[in-house]
Point group: D2
Chain length 430, copies 4
């Protein structure tokens, strides 16, 4: 069982002013070493290379998701809404706090190369031999399993899952506000307090009073703007691409039996794809940056060069491509090879699209529930049926193909190569 | 020579909205690997363990100091003040940008143990075989020397030095606002725009129009509040103390010939106190955290335990001591030894005081120039002679002795030890 | 001729931090009695009855429009854009400052009843025997005529007119930010600094660099949200409607020869529709509120009742009508008459739509120029052709018919009347 | 009895984000015509002539005081503090809401001339034949008397009085934040949420946990800054002085039997000092401004001139006097009389000091209770005994004598007069 703290604890937080902890279980979870590790994982991956303020950690975001969830539930309880299953409070709070605990350093790139998945790791940490598991087990023997269920979206009560994970969930509400605050952009601000006030538990769903439609529109516009201005900024993508190339190269070298000067056990296990929970714990962003720093001195020139590029922010240049065809790609590869750059590691064509960052989808895609408006008579409508703005946002596919490559190519000693490259990608050469 | 950029570059910044770069030299400096390394050093050291938002880097602060300096100079130029030496603009901007470039990870603790000094390192980087040196040398062969002179406060024009380093300098103005913004506390806010508007170059000094006295008072009150509420927060000190103990222990072990399982060249050079500029470059906060992480698995139990405490935020408990005498300390040591804790690594008596963080000093202490008010007739008065508030702030010595020790001591199996400890430090035992 | 001020003057402003005055002419204009009168006219008319913070005056808005214009021009001059006609600076600033100087109290209602028009009055004040005219004439004898031309949008240089009056003008940029700030809603915030940075003078137009498209989208979304959440809030409309009914009733009484207990010369002239500039000056919001206050004691019960309703905020109730037909209206009138309420003064069907508040229009409607994006090659595209969001906003017609009537009707002693009314408008009766 | 509202009502508020109304009685009070009248009285009197944003009304401040009080009580109730007398909640809320309901237009000047007092009027309105009285009487027949008691500070429970009226009361906490927000100055911001969290009911007092001392220091520094930068700004004083002169002149004329062209019943009663509650209701700021506007056309040139000065913001010039003696004043009067300006209406020597705006006083002055810190053992200390900052603030007497007079005097046709004046007051003549 969990008991209330004798005296409420608070954390000063720039986004929510204060974060209030009222339960011993929450307090104990925050103090586990697995949760403290989130201080060593940046929330926005490589985005700090575009927006220098975006250096905040998943630790602060996780506290924020917890706080938004706590506020929603506290509103439900204060108003005594009957459709709110009171017994689920602690479960929601724990799942909100822990849903990102499995994130590793630069998740996108590492997951893409090594096939790990952060949500799976969150569950492994909740269920494994960890301090977190011990704290949760004190609530009840089956409690860790329930928390993992909510994180994995398999828990049987949709209303619990949707608080933490839906198109209008505590996770997104916190990260939009937080990422906007730390990067300093204006786009992520919306009226959180008003949205919380129009949310209602209703027949197993979380719905929104229709008088709050404009506030939700505003929240979705924030998503739209953050999506294009921050999360998919081409400079951030450029850094992601370099990271991905680094891991691909390292994996290739490893498989070829290359003798790394710098290698540590968790890295070995990552290459062998058999990380334990204990090793995963060591694999934080400080570790990964140290690896990159050490590898920038490896004898393999591709690996060393890519690592130095990342650390010293000499990122790939990018151009937008109006069209994309096999011939063009083939030609580009040829030019690169002639210029002695391996296209496998120095050329990338990227199309920004990522389900975890879509603006809004009316259906149940990726298990993210849509937003339902409730009118005064209690009937529900999916929001894009009522709002032209939402309809237009959810239909937008603004992604463009971008080509990424080292800027040096444009000043290649073999001038003719640079000229040809410029012609291919529509740049004026000068 | 430096030339203006064809098109102004901007950085989005949460504190100043935008940071404007107008000179090729500044742009090139920002893109050096030595400056980019500042992204891997937190501005506030261990403070993020108290205020989770305080995770911002010295990179963003350095840009901020540059921007405040740029604004001041641009105001001077716009108003055509005759006492402003126009030719010094670029020198001021470069010194502002680079003054912190020599900061290492957790500077306070490492400097205390190994006798390094960040200002000295800033000069070594400016003058050594570095990308920064090459960029500066393009302005003129003696330019690196001038920049180093401003950083070392030996440059012959006081007005240039005092922009970057005085009691009302661009450095402090940025860090107060920035640290307040990222930690989320209210205390650091003051009216920067107004202060900039009342600053004047005057006979080789920077002075303040006396109509701006209240704005300066407000700025100094911010300093006072940030000093006690953030910079000297006992939790932050507790983490500092543990770090310091870690490095002391490691140094001791190293001197005793202990065989570290994890050791890398820059670390060795640090122990031997003969770091090169190239090695110093590798010694960032990611590196240091990886060291702590690896050392938490060393066989030396004191070293391993201290590292784990730091990483997992199991910091020392603290109590305020009303009085301090040799006898008390002696007794405390005895109790610790009986409890099998080595007092050299598990006990600290701390008195918060740090010249770099003093609120305000009327005189020329530590080469930080005092704040001068100028009346309409052009006569100057040191501010504390005019303002009772400033007088009272500059005289305040609020520091108290704090005792830091592991909380476990209070639940020692030998209950009588815990009881005695509690009695000594005035805690009720329960 | 105008000369620069010896020392820049500043106004503290909550929206722009400071407003900078650098020209003697601007300073003198602000100090005229006609400009000072704007302190006695609220910017948002009756909106303070919905959002109690919205009590700011047209004085502060006018200063804000001036400041935004000043910032735009100063950016143009700093960058030395050739397409900017430098000689027009002072004209733009004066027109920006004075464009609203002809606004009267509760403009919408009074203009509707008496056929006055604030833009026309602005011109009359600029050209008439006023302090403003005298200040402007000192610049040059034809200068007042030029200022009036810009305000009336007849000035021959489109670029000058469009700074003050287009779909992305200084007027709108200030009022969105200001109205959002004072009412406290989140919706009006957008990144002004960024928009200013992407504006360019180009071949006689003001255009926007296409890299700034998202920032403009964000600005238009702010318009959209402010439009529906603030400017057309039904409570604000309800107050407007009552005001309009008051003036209609008073006009009717006046025409019928009713003997007003309270009547003053400017009011008489208003009724006779032959106000002089001197009388118009007296007709501020304080005057109008005093009139309402005195009329609330008139013997005509309709006039007295309507005035008391406005002053004491006993506004009309409103319901949204799904459909609207002649029959329904006829029936409603009948019910009201049976209930002894004159439908001419106690019933209104309102459709929110107002050209001055439309979100965005791609064409040149109402002489408001559309927003043009400029790509790197200098070709122009109207923004809605590039942005789906803008396209969807500009097509939205969300207005609904609302019925306004006194709430007492629902508790009419003749219960059957209330019941019938409820049935007609689709309310449940209880 | 009062009952909770079925559904919480909210007001959007720029300072507190939202204001929550939960009781029918509070809702009904807000809707009375006496409370709505506060919309027509500016919170900061003449301050809008210095800070143009300071146009907010006592209506919004009164809601704010209510909201701060509600938050404090709700914290007390949530934590179940035993020393909080639960039954007093509604009484506190009503008194907080209504404490300023007796404020008239430009209270300071009118109270000074006619001897009225706003607190007394608040009580008369609460106890008289008013809508407010009827709403309060529904709670219980003695409830109006209790509310008046709290406002008059005679209620028998100190804890209730001190919430609304002490050195750290809801009134001051709201107005500092609100006045800072609307004027746009930075000085009034402090951490309200933290202060609320460290307030405790204790043995009949409201005390502050000593860990919150710095937050209270910050609040008092805000008071100090707002006091000198906003409330006693010499431009604001200049406008006050003119207003005061206007009423003095009008009173003198009235007593001399002058035939006013513009006169209305409430004004007559004001002159006769026998205003009824009903007449007082009509006497709002709109009324007073209309009076000034009409009087600017009176035949008495002094009255007409002073009124025009106020309306058109041609305020008196001011200079600070280093010393003040009878001789100087006598000489000044002489010069004025020679210049044909009546010194009784065109000369004022002002010393800023006003008990209602003092920064902090350790004792029980003016019935404002001091701030008590409570340590962990429950013993109380008055804050200035612990805080050097507070000690220094409470001892500061920074007021200076200022001389106010028409600027025209400095350009008097009889040049010798201007010269002599300049000499007397230490101005250079040019």
């Amino acid at each position: 069982m969990s008991s209330p703290l004798q005296e409420e604890k608070v954390f000063k937080d720039p986004v929510h002013k204060y974060i209030y902890v009222q339960d011993q279980t929450i307090w104990d979870l925050i103090n586990t070493k697995e949760f403290q590790r989130l201080r060593r994982i940046r929330q926005l991956g490589t985005c700090f290379l575009t927006f220098h303020g975006g250096e905040h950690s998943r630790f602060s975001h996780s506290l924020g998701v917890y706080e938004v969830t706590r506020k929603i539930i506290s509103q439900f309880e204060r108003n005594g809404y009957e459709d709110w299953p009171k017994g689920e409070r602690l479960l929601c709070l724990c799942a909100a706090l822990l849903h990102d605990v499995g994130h590793g350093p630069f998740s996108h790139s590492i997951e893409k190369t090594f096939g790990t998945h952060h949500e799976e790791w969150s569950c492994r940490i909740v269920l494994g031999d960890t301090e977190i598991n011990r704290v949760l087990s004190q609530v009840s023997p089956t409690f860790p399993q329930q928390v993992a269920g909510v994180i994995a979206k398999t828990y049987h009560k949709e209303i619990v899952v949707s608080l933490v994970s839906s198109q209008l969930d505590a996770d997104r509400m916190d990260y939009l506000l937080r990422d906007a605050y730390f990067t300093g952009v204006n786009y992520g601000t919306f009226d959180l307090e008003r949205i919380l006030r129009v949310m209602r538990p209703f027949q197993g769903h979380i719905v929104v009073k229709d008088s709050g439609m404009h506030a939700v529109e505003d929240y979705l516009m924030s998503r739209y703007q953050m999506y294009w201005q921050v999360y998919f900024h081409p400079v951030t993508r450029s850094a992601e691409i370099i990271l991905h190339k680094i891991f691909q190269r390292a994996k290739q070298l490893f498989e070829e039996g290359y003798g790394f000067q710098f290698m540590l056990p968790p890295l070995l296990s990552l290459f062998h794809q058999k990380l334990t929970v204990q090793e995963y714990h060591l694999l934080d962003e400080a570790f990964m940056q140290t690896v990159l720093s050490q590898w920038s001195m490896e004898s393999d020139s591709v690996l060393a060069d890519l690592c130095a590029r990342f650390l010293n922010r000499r990122l790939f240049k990018y151009v937008m491509l109006e069209k994309l065809d096999v011939q063009l790609i083939e030609k580009l590869r040829e030019v690169m090879q002639q210029a002695d750059w391996d296209p496998a590691f120095y050329l990338e064509i990227d199309f920004p699209s990522d389900l975890s960052y879509d603006v809004y989808r009316p259906g149940n895609h990726d298990e993210k529930l849509p937003i339902l408006l409730m009118d005064q008579k209690g009937s529900l409508t999916e929001i894009s049926r009522r709002s032209e703005i939402v309809r237009s946002i959810s239909g937008i596919h603004m992604g463009k193909y971008h080509l990424y490559f080292p800027e040096e190519l444009l000043q290649h000693p073999l001038g003719s190569l640079s000229t040809e490259l410029c012609k291919l990608i529509g740049l004026e050469h000068g």
